[in-house]
Symmetry: C2
Subunit: 242 residues, 2 copies
DNA sequence: CGTGGATTTGAGAGAAATCAAATCATGTGG
DNA sequence: CCACATGATTTGATTTCTCTCAAATCCACG
């Protein structure tokens, strides 16, 4: 039952964590309720008290907050293998929304089952804790991105980050990846207006760094783009942490 | 030995976590190496692989990243009772700097001891994990602050946040708190230039919302300031999470 | 073939940065 | 106790970046 859904998670966890066979089989035997979501659909909303967390088997999701005057800030993008609301295991009231960006196949695991797993398998608990810490590390980098970098650099940084993360789960081919995100949504990630996003993308296109025709991005010059975005991947903590 | 140092931590953890007597005494018996740091001193730097985490017994610290072109972004401010580099327990290479803002008394706990504690006391492990999740929640709100709010609102938001957090550990008196931070450093928290911070503070002063003479801030109209900052405290997860 | 969302481009306004200089502590050494 | 150096704050003038407003184009889909 859980097998096919948990695979994305296991693939991801094994990249950077030491899990033994028993850990893996404990994850595989987790009861998972699977559900398909349309694009642009709320999964959990601010103020909710979810009793389960969701694992992305396929598709993209994002977390966002809406300000008093109706502006939206996307605080994270999530790709297959991630559990975007794992924090609700210990933070019982949602402080933000979680929604799908594209159609998604999600696997829901109850907090009860997760707690049992964490109790029985300390390695898994550590690995999951670590996932939330990597999450936080990416938040930190986004604060820097939005706080200190001009628009074009911000965009180059975001695209470089996505390339690394998608590559780690094998969803890139030759520097290109599929990500059906609108310019408005990119602006909400970067704290920019949709109009400015358009100009910034044009600039990166004119510089020969990227090719962007929804839904696919092609990074024509990966090194050049990373330089343009002052990108340095260590904050992603992608290499096994020895 | 650990007692006096761990008290700040226990006080903080007990606000929002269910710890029993054995949990508390396990924390109290933790071996702690205490050390005094001057103001504006690096505790751990980006790239380091610390073998211990530090607990702030007294004073203020901050975490920051420096961009390629030398600009600094402060990603978090830390107050007594917090463990600002707890993430290094699972993320072995530091992706940012940790430094003192003021003179600090710090207690260092080895990762080995923390791991042993987490193994022996699941409640404590959960409480510490939760602390890192609250950390992440504050990061999310800072992304919103820096990404979507104009300067004056940003400042009002930050000051309101600090008031709540300091009040929770009993470091405010009648809406006032001591925080020796320069306008340059405030700018680094908010993604603003020092000059603009000055103007923004003047504006809040002229509106009768605050009084700010280093090192003390007095929030003359707490509700008004929160409104000005579009501040809503739930992201701090300060109430016991039932 | 019409409709609504997404993208693109232009023009003007506004927020914040930068540059520059003056003032105001604060602490040190003579 | 004063002179001086250093860092922090304050204020003004100018520039730059990004937003908002507006309109045109493009595209996918029923």
């Amino acid at each position: 039952m859980a097998g096919p859904f948990a695979n994305a998670l296991i693939t991801k966890l094994l990249v950077t964590n030491n899990l033994d066979d028993e850990d893996v089989s404990a994850i595989l035997s987790l009861p998972i309720r699977s559900q398909r979501f349309d694009a642009h659909t709320l999964i959990v909303r601010e103020g909710d008290r979810p009793e389960e967390s969701c694992l992305i088997a396929n598709g993209f999701a994002f977390r966002s907050k809406t300000t008093f005057d109706g502006q939206r800030q996307i605080v994270s993008l999530h790709i297959p293998g991630e559990i975007p609301d794992l924090q609700s295991l210990h933070l019982h009231v949602m402080d933000h929304d979680l929604a799908t960006l594209t159609p998604c196949f999600l696997g829901f695991i109850t907090h009860m089952d997760l707690r049992a797993l964490n109790g029985a398998r300390p390695n898994v608990a550590a690995a999951l804790w670590r996932e939330t810490l990597v999450d936080a590390s990416i938040f930190r980098e986004w604060i820097v991105n939005v706080g200190r970098r001009p628009g074009t650099v911000r965009m180059a940084h975001l695209l470089s980050e996505l390339r690394y993360r998608l590559e780690a789960i094998g969803r890139t081919t030759d520097g290109a990846f599929e990500l059906p995100i609108t310019q408005l949504e990119l602006g909400d990630c970067l704290g920019l207006s949709a109009v400015h996003v358009n100009r910034v993308l044009k600039e990166l296109r004119d510089e020969g760094l990227i090719q962007a025709e929804r839904p696919s991005f092609r990074l024509l010059d990966k090194a050049g783009l990373e330089e343009r975005g002052h990108f340095e991947p260590s904050y992603l903590h992608l290499s096994p942490s020895l």
